[in-house]
């Protein structure tokens, strides 16, 4: 049996979702954004809600996410995607609304909107892609940058030591990696909070299940934010090849940001 005999429509077992447009992703080779886009599109297609979905794209690498999803989209100001999603969901409660943000957008400039949207318990789905760095602006420190991690604005590594003694003693203090996902999980307004990854097929499958649940909850529910963090990579700004970046992610990002459900059906998961 030749390859040509196998490659026939009736034998197709996997292809990119029809809910993605034909526009090639502008993301760097190996970037997790593409994988996350793919599985969101698959979920929306499987749930059959493409004709009532409104997405909100961020400022950051995913700013043009609206070019790739064949659903209606609004592009938000930096950090304001949760406010935008709130605005839409409040006036169109029957539409399926999701925001898509990176770590700088969601956990630095948009912290206020993130926390209050979660605290109000808006019935929306929030996707948070955490790669520990600012991608679009060229690799500066993010709130989720690991301690010791070198970025364009922490060229000697992020230092998170509290200054010794009273006041500033000359040691740069960039603060600690911000665990925003754990933080919002403690708010009564969040229903489902989980942290996933997409660096290998098994984790992509898990992440897809999580995203599906996050949308199903919205479709079937009346309130409560469904929040999915994806620990991802930034090969270009980590200055690694894609495969090496994924390995670095497993060895360095995951110990700081462990994977798994944090809150399910409004209840914190016991560790």
């Amino acid at each position: 049996m030749t390859v040509q005999d196998i490659i026939k429509p009736e034998n197709l077992v996997y292809q990119k979702s029809k809910l993605l447009t034909n526009k090639p992703f502008h993301y760097c080779p190996g970037c997790g954004h593409g994988t996350v886009h793919r599985i969101i599109a698959e979920v929306l297609e499987e749930l059959g809600v493409d004709d009532r979905t409104i997405g909100v794209s961020p400022v950051g690498c995913a700013v043009m996410a609206y070019d790739y999803f064949d659903v209606d989209f609004v592009e938000a100001a930096h950090g304001r995607a949760p406010a935008c999603a709130t605005g839409i969901k409040r006036v169109w409660p029957d539409k399926i609304v999701f925001s898509y943000q990176g770590d700088g957008d969601l956990a630095a400039i948009g912290t206020c909107e993130t926390i209050h949207t979660c605290n109000r318990g808006e019935n929306i789905t929030m996707i948070f892609v955490n790669n520990g760095i600012y991608g679009m602006t060229g690799g500066q420190m993010a709130p989720t940058t690991l301690e010791g991690m070198k970025t364009a604005t922490t060229p000697y590594g992020r230092k998170a030591t509290l200054p010794a003694g009273a006041g500033f003693d000359g040691i740069p203090n960039n603060g600690y990696p911000l665990h925003i996902t754990e933080l919002i999980a403690h708010l009564p307004g969040t229903k489902y909070v989980t942290r996933q990854a997409v660096y290998d097929p098994a984790h992509v499958r898990n992440a897809k299940k999580a995203i599906k649940k996050a949308f199903e909850n919205q479709i079937n529910g009346k309130s409560g934010v469904n929040f999915v963090e994806i620990v991802s990579n930034c090969n270009s700004n980590w200055k690694m090849e894609p495969v090496a970046a994924n390995k670095w992610l497993v060895e360095n990002m995951l110990p700081e940001y462990p994977l798994g459900d944090i809150k399910v059906d409004g209840k914190l998961v016991e560790k």
Binding site: D50, R80, A83
Partner: protein, 361 residues
């Protein structure tokens, strides 16, 4: 005939939004306009019409809620006062760039910074000249009575949706806080989903199968497209200038000297006109109703009819005077008179300023 009521300006604004069939109000409390959200919360418009009222975590969040809900085709309003409107400039620039309709009210207080909670008109520049980034305009309506606080909500929404841009109701603490009788309009129905889809094909309502998905964005990295987008915005603004400039003239038929004043200043200047006429002076009042587009042509017409000078009367240190002078283009004298810091000028001192600065001895 609508219902006659005694109301505060801020309350009239809020009631007008409910009666217009607005879909949502997103706001954040700030003096002197907190009555807007308080009145809306007390009225429970969700029970009356299905209108959503939400107290946001900040002015920033509120304007971005407005931006996205407006992008989704709904009639959405917010209101604030000067320092809060600073925070809203981010969203307003996006609203301009992405061509989203909305109404926002600025009940102006004194500045700069935290300034004072007393009435002011010091945010003329902020609202008429942009304030956010980029080449853009907002329609700016200046009510000078509680009735206009009410009426300009409907006018603002009509213009905002006609041109897909923000309409600002530029009020001040005096107009917002004072009580006057007002004739309220009949309750209009909110638009249905079918009506929105039919009337606003650009609105994000979920793309129908087999049709192109819609994107509301202010971003385009293609320079040629971005230049054309900017040109298209400017063409739209020219159209607004041609069609929507509004003003009122009082005693201008034979006037030699004209006060130019808007909002609460116009009320005082109107009294100054009366005092001047009683003293035998041929004075009149030009009251711009739209501050953008500015009634430049009205000033031009007055000069052609023989007006020899203008006094721009403002509760600011001289902002609108720049537009008056641009319209005069050096042909006649144009000066500014203003009180600030929460002090409101008296009709007598306004008339005195006209005599001293324009008419001369």
């Amino acid at each position: 005939m609508g219902e006659l009521k005694l109301m505060k300006g801020n309350e009239a604004l809020a009631e007008a939004a409910i009666r217009y069939g607005a879909d949502a109000y997103f706001g954040y409390p700030i003096t002197p306009q907190s009555e807007v959200i308080e009145y809306l919360s007390e009225q429970n418009p969700y029970e009356r019409t299905g209108m959503v009222v939400l107290q946001a975590e900040s002015e920033l969040a509120a304007i971005n809620m407005v931006y996205a809900a407006g992008a989704a085709g709904k009639r959405v309003m917010t209101s604030s006062s000067s320092p809060g409107v600073c925070l809203k400039q981010e969203g307003l620039a996006y609203i301009a760039g992405a061509e989203v309709p909305c109404v926002f009210a600025d009940v102006v207080r004194g500045g700069p910074g935290l300034g004072t909670i007393q009435p002011s008109q010091a945010d003329y520049f902020q609202n008429t000249k942009g304030g956010g980034n980029g080449d853009y305009r907002n329609i700016v309506l200046a009510p000078s009575s509680v009735q206009e606080m009410c009426d300009f909500v409907a006018l603002g929404f009509d213009l905002a949706f006609k041109y897909r841009m923000a309409a600002c109701i530029l009020s001040d603490g005096a107009i917002g806080q004072m009580m006057e009788k007002v004739i309220l309009p009949e309750q209009k129905a909110r638009m249905t989903e079918e009506e929105i889809k039919a009337k606003y094909p650009w609105a994000l309502t979920g793309r129908a199968r087999g049709t192109q998905h819609r994107v509301i964005t202010s971003l385009d990295l293609d320079s040629a497209k971005m230049e054309e987008h900017n040109r298209a915005l400017q063409r739209k603004y020219k159209e607004v200038e041609a069609n929507e400039t509004r003003y009122e003239m009082i005693n201008c038929e034979d006037a030699e000297y004209v006060f130019v004043a808007y909002g609460s200043s116009a009320r005082i200047a109107q009294k100054s006109v009366q005092l001047g006429r009683e003293a035998g002076l041929k004075v009149g009042l030009l009251r711009p109703i739209t501050l953008w587009p500015y009634p430049t042509k009205a000033i031009d017409d007055l000069i052609k009819k023989g007006v020899k000078g203008f006094l721009s009367v403002e509760l600011s240190c001289g902002q609108m005077i720049e537009d008056v002078r641009l319209a005069c283009n050096g042909r006649v004298k144009a000066e500014h008179f203003g009180r600030v810091g929460g002090i409101i000028h008296t009709p007598e001192e306004v008339l005195e300023a006209m005599k001293k600065q324009i008419i001369g001895e």
